[in-house]
């Protein structure tokens, strides 16, 4: 079964999107290229072809469709990673489809560098100790970028992605939000200047303990003695200077 051109024209993204949503799919540049209609008949059996199939199901036989990027405004990105390539590809494909029906222009999936971790173990403790086993774990990952949509739509998409997550697969998303300079200034004013000085809660606890310790008699006597010493030295210095001045005055007279 093939998709007729008139059917394709009627595909519209869901009205819940709020993001960028072109109305007529025929204007879509990527569509004609991505949707290779000739492969449809080969991949499916005849029984399926004779029954009516929902369009969304029909489209799973093709590459995921994408909306074109118009404004180059990066809203967020998603990284999918796992130890096997199959799940990574499958889930990237799923994310692209979810994004398409929410009207999000997406690019990817871009393969990220393969991460290989390796470990070596000995085969036995004694005579087989020179014979080794090498083990490795390869982490494959793909990057999908989402453009020109609002944070709400991005979060909506991520909630769907989270709901249908599969085991042994990691999905990491980043959302980029723009703030006006005014709002940042307002935030900075709200922050207490004292709070800015201390970096973390842990450090705060340590400083509180330091104050507590220094107030303890074991430390306080040293601090008091030191303060006393400083005071005495200052008095002595003052007296010495006074006597010097006196001597000068007497000499002049």
């Amino acid at each position: 079964m093939r998709i007729s051109a008139s059917k394709l024209k009627n595909i519209k993204p869901a009205s819940v999107t709020g993001g960028y949503a072109p109305k007529v799919i025929a204007n879509h540049d990527l569509l004609a290229k991505d949707l290779d209609l000739s492969i449809a008949a080969d991949e499916k059996d005849a029984a399926l072809a004779s029954k009516p199939v929902p369009l969304a199901v029909e489209l799973t036989y093709y590459k995921p469709m994408k909306w074109p990027v118009h404004h180059n405004h990066l809203t967020g990105d998603i990284t999918v990673r796992s130890y096997g390539i199959y799940n990574v590809e499958l889930f990237s494909d799923f994310i692209l489809r979810v994004g398409y029906y929410l009207g999000i222009p997406m690019t990817g999936p871009t393969p990220l560098p393969l991460k290989i971790e390796s470990w070596t173990t000995i085969r036995g403790p004694f005579i087989h100790a020179k014979s080794k086993d090498n083990w490795e774990r390869k982490t494959r990952s793909r990057l999908i970028k989402c453009w020109d949509c609002t944070p709400e739509v991005f979060e909506l998409m991520m909630s769907v992605v989270e709901k249908y997550g599969i085991p042994n697969l990691g999905v990491k998303s980043q959302l980029y939000v723009d703030h006006s300079l005014e709002s940042i200034k307002k935030d900075l004013n709200m922050v207490d200047s004292v709070a800015l000085k201390t970096v973390s809660k842990e450090e705060d606890a340590v400083l509180a303990r330091v104050r507590e310790l220094l107030a303890d008699p074991a430390f306080k006597r040293h601090l008091d003695a030191d303060a006393e010493r400083v005071k005495t030295e200052a008095t002595q210095e003052h007296k010495r200077l006074e006597s010097e001045v006196d001597a000068e005055v007497t000499a002049q007279v």
């Binding site: 130890y83 390796s118 173990t121 340590v206 003695a225």
Partner: protein, 119 residues
């Protein structure tokens, strides 16, 4: 040995680790709990002893107090041990497993993604 006796083995109550454990694992567990409890005090004393603006006698007092604290209050006394066998040598950080335990599990296919390396 009853659990009650184990909990008071070090003179200070200790939380018993879950699962199978041996004496060395329990000792390490105890050290981790105690060092976490005393972390703030140790850091505060270290801060005083290294602060050059404080009088030397106060700094030496801090050093003495630090030296007087039991060894189990120092995080440096803990050791990464195998979480299954309790062995303290050849522990892979990524799995917190000893080489032998790691090999057994890897051969059984129980470590996700770990395969025999081929190149």
């Amino acid at each position: 040995m009853a659990i009650g006796n184990l909990a008071n083995r070090f003179g200070i109550p200790v939380l018993i680790p879950g699962g199978r454990f041996n004496a060395r694992m329990l000792r390490d567990h105890f050290k981790r709990q105690q060092s976490a409890e005393h972390e703030v005090t140790v850091n505060a004393l270290r801060y005083i002893s290294r602060n050059t603006t404080l009088p030397p006698r106060a700094r030496i007092e801090a050093q003495l107090q630090m030296a007087a604290m039991p060894n189990y209050t120092k995080i440096m006394s803990t050791k990464n041990r195998c979480t299954l066998s309790g062995r303290g040598r050849a522990v892979f950080r990524a799995f917190r497993l000893n080489r032998f335990t790691f090999r057994q599990l890897a051969r059984a296919g129980k470590l996700s993604g770990v395969i025999r390396a081929m190149w």
